[in-house]
Every structure is written in structure tokens, then in C-alpha cells.
């Protein structure tokens, strides 16, 4: 069960029904994702061949091979161009996604109910038609049959419907607060009643009450504050104890910052390396190999960050925190093991937390629907191989199913 819950917490195209029942939704969700990491493009860049990836994903690949992972056409790192239109499309889709999932799930629910109880839907009983997504992406049968779990609300009644025409009422349920953004200025007052937790997926700070919709959104929304990640390195920057002070950071001015050039480390003395690190306010501890690796990684994440739209960019302090976390993993790898098994073993707490959170989700989301869930996700077995179970496409919108 835990595995099933964990899987539900991962956002991916199979959250949507298959192409037959909801044409285009899966492909849309897929088209906006990076084929290396499987997530929505983060700082999308395009190669000369036309293929696109997250800036950091492709830069990591290009340290090993200067080519496109899709078509293998040669491409140097300098040929990467950011894709602003793609980034805007992703921002729009990630904010629309929870609502679309909700609508799809409601539609599925309503089909299930009609099938289970055809007498309540006279129009369907007469012509024997089922409600289906048409190729235009609208419901082909619009009659609002009696429904126990849903309410019709006029568009104006709900914040999230504000963009909709009043002529086309959207079915929503009572929990209509999920697309509300958290006002970060409220966080401190809210701390006592609604503690900030670290998301098991992205490790960022999220209000406990928002953790589920946050994960649903692919970790894009409901971030509580940006300060959490910086903790480790606050010692290095005691003057910046608050992550909030974005305006003091050097990425906030209006001038587009320059990309950092690569250095040829072979000829550099350790002293010079330390100076170069100091220039970027990075730690200068460690042997020469560590200094070089740190500087290389810094240049990579710094340049990748510039492929994000200005308002999506991380501050330099956030990048430093990312670098610190990367070093932790790296030194761990180098000193002890090289495989993920041992990594996961050593980070048991994180994974346990992840499973605990997932279990919370499961209890919260599944209990109310047990009564009618004859076709829930095939729960992968917990011992022995977790077999893949084919079919049951329409079960995959479970992610967004609502309490009734």
C-alpha cells in the first residue's frame, strides 16, 4: 500500500485518462516534461537539433557527452538556448493542472455513478449513451444528472472559477481551496497552528496543510518560504539569517547577469582556486579535487539558473544551498558507496518520512471512497516483485479524487 501511495504522490502523464477517453491531455502533460528527469522542464533549453531538456539535466549529460540524448546529434554546451515560450506554457499548465485533474476525476465519478445507477439518469437510460470526452475535449453529454457527491456551482461562486465564462458552470466540490496560493507573509503567524514541513519530494518548506496539493502540483506551488534550504550555510552568511531577504541578493537587480565562463583547472594553483571560490562566496575547504569539483558544479548550476525566467530564478544563496546539498551527496558517494541502495539505506529517515507522508495521504484520500472503490489502483505487492498490472487506464485519475 505504501508503494501505491508513493506512486500517487508522483506527478506524471498517466495521472490523466488515456488518449481515447481524454484526447490530448496525456500528450500535453508529456510534451511539457524533460525526458531525462521526467519532470516539467525546469529552465527549458533547446539544442540545435530542436530537442529540449531542463538546463541542468542537459548540462550534466554534456559533461559526459557533447550530444543530444534523444538523437545523438553533436551539440556543445554553448549551443544551448533557453526556451521562454516553453517555460510560460509550463507555468500555465502547472497552475491549471490541479483543476483539470479535478474535472477529469469528477467526470469519471459521474460516469461511474451513472453506470452503477442508470435509473437516475433517464436520458442515458433511453439512448444508452455514456458520457464521454469528445474530441474537442468537452463532455459530449451535458445533462447534469442527480449526483450525491457533487454540487453544481455557478462559476462566480468559487475563486478558482474566476476565469470561466458564467455560461459554463464547472462542477466543483467543497474542497475548492487547493488552487489558492499561500501568501508567504502570513506564514509566520500561521506557524503555530499549521507547521511548516519539508516536502518529501523536493525537500522544500511547505505548510503541513498544503503538502498534498503541493505534491499533486509536481512541487510547483504552495511553497511556504524559500528560507529552509539555506539553513546549512547560514553559518557562512550570518548576516543573512533570513531567506526572505531576496532584495539583498545580487540576482535581484534588473541587469541580466552574465554567464560564468568555464575555467581550465589544470594549470591553476590551489590558492587561485580558493580565490575563485571566494569571489562567489563559496566555501574554500577541501583538497584541490574538491575545490575544482565545487567550482565546476557552481558554474553549471549558476548558468543553468540563468535559463530560468527571471522571476523563476533561484537566488545565489539558494544556489549555494543546492551546491552544499550536492556536495553532501557527492562526498557520501565517494567515501562510502557508489550505488543507490546504500544511499537510500543511509537516508532511511528521509524515505521513511516520505512513506509516512504518503500513508497520511492515502488514509486521507482513500478512506472516504472505499465504499465505491471496486477499481482502485492495483496496489503493488510489498514482497516479491511488484508486478506491473496492465489496463485500467481510467483508474489513474485517482490522484485527484475527492472526499465526498
Amino acid at each position: 500500500m505504501d508503494t501505491a501511495a508513493l506512486l500517487k504522490s508522483v506527478s506524471d502523464p498517466s495521472d490523466f485518462p488515456d488518449e481515447k477517453s481524454a484526447p490530448g491531455l496525456r500528450s500535453l502533460d508529456h510534451a511539457l516534461r524533460c525526458n531525462i528527469c521526467g519532470e516539467f522542464f525546469d529552465g527549458p533549453v533547446t539544442l540545435p537539433c530542436g530537442h529540449g531538456f531542463c538546463s541542468l539535466c542537459i548540462r550534466e549529460h554534456m559533461r559526459q557527452e557533447s550530444n543530444c540524448p534523444m538523437c545523438r546529434v553533436a551539440a556543445p554546451e554553448s549551443s544551448l538556448r533557453k526556451n521562454i515560450a516553453m517555460e510560460e506554457a509550463i507555468a500555465a499548465w502547472t497552475s491549471a493542472r490541479p483543476l483539470v485533474l479535478r474535472l477529469v476525476s469528477d467526470e469519471k465519478k459521474s460516469i461511474t455513478e451513472r453506470e452503477a445507477n442508470p435509473s437516475t439518469t433517464p436520458s442515458n437510460a433511453v439512448n444508452g449513451k455514456k458520457r464521454k470526452w469528445s474530441s474537442e475535449g468537452t463532455f459530449t453529454t451535458q445533462e447534469a444528472g442527480p449526483s450525491k457527491v457533487q454540487k453544481e456551482k455557478p462559476a462566480g461562486d468559487s475563486r478558482k472559477n474566476s476565469g470561466q465564462s458564467p455560461k459554463s458552470p464547472i462542477r466543483v466540490d467543497e474542497r475548492d481551496d487547493e488552487v489558492e496560493m499561500v501568501n508567504t507573509s502570513d506564514i509566520e503567524e500561521a506557524d503555530a497552528v499549521d507547521p511548516v514541513v519539508n516536502c518529501p519530494m523536493c525537500a522544500k518548506s511547505v505548510l503541513e496543510s498544503r503538502i498534498n496539493p503541493h505534491i499533486d502540483s509536481g512541487c510547483k506551488i504552495f511553497l511556504a518560504s524559500k528560507g529552509q534550504n539555506v539553513n546549512n550555510w547560514l553559518k557562512i552568511f550570518p548576516g543573512r539569517a533570513k531567506g526572505k531577504e531576496k532584495q539583498t541578493d545580487d540576482t535581484s537587480n534588473d541587469v541580466e547577469p552574465d554567464r560564468l565562463p568555464k575555467a581550465s583547472y589544470g594549470v591553476l594553483k590551489e590558492k587561485k582556486l580558493r580565490e575563485m571560490l571566494q569571489e562567489h562566496k563559496l566555501p574554500t575547504t577541501g583538497d584541490k579535487a574538491t575545490l575544482i569539483a565545487r567550482h565546476q558544479r557552481w558554474i553549471m548550476i549558476y548558468n543553468a539558473n540563468l535559463d530560468r525566467a527571471a522571476k523563476q530564478r533561484k537566488t545565489n544563496n539558494e544556489l549555494r544551498a543546492d551546491l552544499a546539498r550536492w556536495e553532501e551527496t557527492r562526498s557520501f558517494k565517494k567515501d562510502q558507496v557508489s550505488d543507490g541502495v546504500a544511499y537510500q539505506e543511509a537516508h532511511k529517515n528521509e524515505f521513511n518520512q516520505m512513506i509516512k507522508d504518503a500513508r497520511k495521504r492515502l488514509v486521507k484520500k482513500e478512506t472516504p471512497e472505499k465504499s465505491r472503490s471496486t477499481t482502485t489502483h492495483a496496489a503493488p505487492s510489498t514482497s516479491g516483485p511488484s508486478n506491473v498490472v496492465a489496463g485500467g487506464d481510467d483508474d489513474n485519475v485517482a490522484d485527484s479524487q475527492d472526499e465526498s
Binding site: V10, C37, P69, T382, P385, V388, D393
Partner: protein, 173 residues
């Protein structure tokens, strides 16, 4: 506003995504299943592969262990048939030798084309499909089990007989 923190969390997330998609979509023609052996370890999977039709492997079901590195998918995973499989491209310990699981830097045979090697957009599904076609058509240029290669080349009948016998034995017939 991004959800990446370290390489390993990228690996874990990517593995969860792959598993979720395999669970949701199944494999083509139900030719294989794959998933983590236990919920506490997403970096070790077991795959069960059906022997492809019209080959000596037809009727058999072959278990393989997949071991993922912490920088997956930048680096490929390892695949090992347990118990080992008698096949020209499988080492005697069961490890699969196939170009899609080799990075450009590690080509043991020098016979492989760059276009067939690992890249971070490959996946468990693509690799297993390649392994299934490898079962049907061994690649003698990058042999891993030399005796088996010779047998396959020089005495196909005996090769088929040994493979079929091992499948019957595996099924307890």
C-alpha cells in the same frame, strides 16, 4: 520554484515515475513486468520477462535483477538474470551484455554503435524491450558467453536443445 535538489533525489523521482507509468500502462503485449523488490528500496528492481514467441525461449519466464546507480539516469542500470540464462550475450553470472546498457566510455567489445548505447532518455522499458529482441536475435559480435556463441554459430540444434531443456527444468517439468 524547482523540485530538484540532489542527483539522488532526481534518480529516486525518475524511478518512481517509470514505475508508475509501467503500472499504469503495462508493457507492450504484457511481455514483461518490472518493479522494485521492496517498498523500502527503489534502487533494486526485479523484472519478469516472458520468452519471446517463435524462439527457443518461448514458454519460459525469466527473472532479472536491475540495480540502479544513484546518478541514474545519467548512468545506466545493471541487469542480471537470476538464475543465469544460457545465451550468447549473457555472462555466466547472469549479467546482461547489451549495448543499450553501456556508456560510450565503457564498450567492452568495441563493436557497438554509439547510437545504440545508453543515454539518459533510455528507460527500463526500452532496455527490457531491447533485451527481449536480443533473446530472439543474439548478437555474436559482442558475445559474453563464448562457449554459447560458438554453439549458437556451429550447432544451432544443440543450442536450441539446451535452452529448451533449461526452460523445462526451470518450470519443473
Amino acid at each position: 520554484m524547482n523540485s530538484r535538489s540532489t542527483n539522488s533525489s532526481t534518480a529516486l523521482r525518475r524511478l518512481m515515475t517509470e514505475y508508475k507509468q509501467l503500472t499504469a500502462n503495462g508493457s507492450p503485449d504484457g511481455m514483461f513486468t518490472a518493479g522494485p523488490i521492496s517498498e523500502s528500496d527503489f534502487f533494486t528492481w526485479e523484472a519478469l520477462i516472458c520468452g519471446p514467441k517463435d524462439t527457443p525461449f518461448e514458454g519460459g519466464i525469466f527473472a532479472a535483477k536491475l540495480t540502479f546507480p544513484s546518478d541514474y539516469p545519467l548512468s545506466p542500470f545493471k541487469m542480471k538474470f537470476e538464475p543465469p540464462l544460457f545465451h550468447p550475450n549473457v555472462y555466466s553470472d547472469g549479467t546482461v551484455c547489451i549495448s543499450i546498457l553501456h556508456t560510450p566510455g565503457d564498450d567492452p567489445t568495441q563493436y557497438e554503435h554509439a547510437s545504440e548505447r545508453w543515454s539518459p532518455v533510455q528507460s527500463v522499458e526500452k532496455v527490457i524491450l531491447s533485451v527481449i529482441s536480443m533473446l530472439a536475435e543474439p548478437n555474436l559480435e559482442s558475445g559474453a558467453n563464448i562457449d554459447c556463441c560458438k554453439l549458437y554459430r556451429d550447432n544451432r540444434e544443440e543450442y536450441v536443445r539446451i535452452v529448451k531443456a533449461s526452460i523445462r527444468e526451470q518450470l519443473g517439468l
